[in-house]
Symmetry: C2
Subunit: 455 residues, 2 copies
């Protein structure tokens, strides 16, 4: 068979789908819409402010792509850096393939699409190229990258996004190969930096490096024709236990993995491991009209891996609360939602929130979901009331928003509007336009919204 | 003990040497002088031209540090990117700690020193900080990084140079810690891309990422306090066999590893594995007045690992010839030197060169040098003449230029002048100034040479 690097490059050069299947198209549009929402929601975070100043220090007059929908234009690699970081800053972006595909793909594609004046349909095809390359790399490694210390979003994202951007630039197969191989040499990002500003920067760097790799390769910079698969190449170097499959035939273009894996959209700006329990609590609150004062205890059962991530049993800040099951249960009981307005330091420190957090007990289950191995087969939650009643959720198999239990349109829109609430833009109009992304003659039509913010 | 990340950061914040030992000072000045020579020699290579255009596309008006001693000023991270790539482009830069320390440290330090208007003595101290951090990381991994696929110059260099630049910026211990931990998340570069333009780019990216990490950390970007040593952190993620020592006490500042390991300076712009044999051939030529036409055969014995790197038995280009023992022997016999003028495509294709290449036979030895495990304990070369005489080199233990067999001053200067031969600058004056680096009140005094080139 042809080498893997070569196969990825041929696919990125000529993916061979003139029209996208409707179901793939819907997933892709959801990915763009949701990522832009989390990017806008994350735009005032401290890490994004630091990066904007970092980019300003270059004193660049390149005006290729917009930053954060605020009417500011910078070089496209700098736009990808800032926008990718913003999209990942709140841990609110979508999930698939053991990582966060859209938070790297979308900022890289948008930045280059704006520079190139690409149409909406091409932007969507570029996303599919990036997703499929990412999936092809991901499936070859049986062990979680986290096990070794690698942040999969960063290390797989750099190469996947390079493929997407290479296609958007209509690179030749040879230049694609250099771009993908060069991107493999730019793949980095450590799990050790989770919980710090460096984590979202991984996504921004991956998006920006993808743009860099394509620019350099198209200018003639060379890289190895087999850097992905060769002995001690990309897949081997990153492999947690040295078990990467370097020889299995490439199936790119024959089947679309996006139709199998889709995207899981987060309904709450919390660690994904809390989501099933939050769903269960909200259902019980709605069904039984539970008031916080009625609650005696809450018993939640989750998987061992989930529990290991939810380390913050008594969080003091909004950032810490993202990784607290106790907090998520308390917020669900008190506010009947867990959104951006709950994830503030002030809210976390409220006495009623803290009191309820103390009533939550976590149990673990050894079972494992065959589709998402980080999770138990199902989670359960039981609320015991002061009057003695025990209210049980039953088995919660998938979180709402999971690819296998998708959010309804109105739920997606509610998240979008919530994310845009603090931004001075016409969120309704932007949402409508993103929902007909395939009809946009130029991706620059999205930029008109920035005018609204700079009035 | 304090954590390793913390110890590295405290050292970078306060290394505690007011004056450098003379022997360390000499090594550091050699590192700067030789790296600037290889940077100047590499400045017209294609990869450097591509990177200069890549930086130009930013349309940056930042004017912080010079590029390639040619009177052009750019942002310091961009200068580090271009200069680091140029210094590594010809495989002619110095060797130590299983990699190439100066090709990352020197460009990063020079770029930031120029921006900060630092003095020569501080520049030298910054180098020592970077070298010692690099050595501290390097000694904790018993297996060659190459084994897994990682380019040690790139992955260790990013963190070492971040320490150096952090000290130059007088970062607090806390900001140093964020910078070093962030740099750990930027560490990347694959051996798979050796032999392509991506290899020198690894050095440039490492130098530039180091500057980025320090800028971002000093602006408040956070990273983990223990990213280097924690479970599945930097050392573990990169470890070829999972055997990195994460617990041994830190000895930074107590002993100077630069006094033990030094720097090996390449006398020939060839893979280091050829150097001992070239020395042996040149000695025999000088001693016996051998003419190329007199040679019947050349038998060279080298280590197994050396032989595995010297794969090009019949090279067609100057780039390929860098990894050919046959070529290096032929050039040494014909030109009585192996320099930049021999490593051209035209020279490699000369019929007399090709004829002599055919007379070289390679043998391997299973022995191994305890100091440099990639090498045999010694190499040997035997030249058999057409008149039947057998001329033997005896055991060649270290190449000339090795840290344990240093070049004489006039040899260092000859290399420097050869590297600068095609550049329009006063190489003599630059050499003199670099040799009194510790007396420069401002590193910007080095920039005066650029005026000579732009006349």
């Amino acid at each position: 068979m042809a080498g893997l690097t070569d196969s990825l490059s041929r696919f990125a050069s000529n993916p061979g789908f003139a029209t996208l299947p409707g179901s793939a198209s819907a997933v892709i549009k959801t990915g763009f819409t949701d990522t832009i929402a989390t990017m806008i929601a994350g735009r005032d975070t401290e890490v994004v402010q630091i990066l904007r100043e970092f980019v300003r220090q270059r004193q660049s007059s390149a005006s290729e792509a917009q930053v954060l929908f605020i009417g500011e234009q910078v070089a496209s690699n700098d736009a990808a850096l800032i926008n990718g970081t913003a999209a990942h800053a709140l841990d609110y972006d979508d999930v698939a393939l053991g990582g966060h595909p859209s938070t790297v793909l979308v900022p890289a594609i948008l930045a280059e699409a704006e520079r190139l004046d690409a149409c909406g349909a091409d932007v969507m095809r570029a996303y599919l190229v990036g997703y499929e390359i990412w999936a092809e790399l991901s499936r070859r490694e049986p062990d979680p990258y986290h096990l070794k210390g690698w942040h999969p979003t960063a290390v797989l994202g750099t190469v996947g996004a390079a493929g997407a951007v290479a296609w958007l630039n209509r690179l030749s197969p040879e230049h694609c190969r250099h771009a993908i191989s060069l991107a493999a040499s730019m793949a980095c990002g450590l799990v050790a930096n989770f919980g710090t500003m460096t984590k979202p920067l991984h996504a921004g760097r991956a998006a920006s490096s993808a743009v860099d790799a394509v620019r350099l390769a198209s200018a003639g910079l060379t890289a190895a024709p087999d850097a992905i698969e060769r002995h001690a190449g990309y897949l081997a170097a990153l492999s947690p236990k040295g078990a990467a499959d370097l020889s299995d035939a490439v199936e790119l273009g024959e089947r679309l993995r996006i139709l199998e894996s889709g995207l899981s959209i987060k309904k709450y700006p919390m660690c994904y491991s809390t989501h099933r329990v939050v769903d269960g609590v909200l259902d019980l609150v709605e069904k039984h009209g539970i008031r916080p004062a009625d609650v005696e205890t809450v018993d939640a059962t989750i998987g061992v891996s989930q529990a290991s991530m939810l380390r913050n049993h008594s969080p003091a800040t909004g950032l810490e609360a993202k990784f607290s099951l106790e907090f998520s249960v308390a917020a669900a009981l008190i506010s009947q939602k867990v959104g951006l307005t709950e994830l503030t330091d002030n809210y976390v420190r409220r006495s009623d929130v803290r009191e309820l957090m103390g009533k939550v007990r976590i149990h673990t289950s050894e079972s494992s979901c065959p589709i998402e191995p980080v999770f138990a087969l199902s989670d359960q939650v039981t609320i015991t009331l002061k009057d003695g009643r025990r209210l049980e959720s039953g088995d919660i198999r998938f979180a709402r928003g999971n690819a296998l239990l998708p959010l309804q349109d109105h739920e997606l829109k509610a998240k979008f509007l919530d994310c845009c609430a603090s931004a001075e833009l016409d969120a309704d109009q932007l949402y409508t336009r993103l929902n007909s992304l395939e009809t946009l003659k130029s991706i620059r039509e999205l930029a008109v919204f920035s005018e609204l913010t700079t009035v």
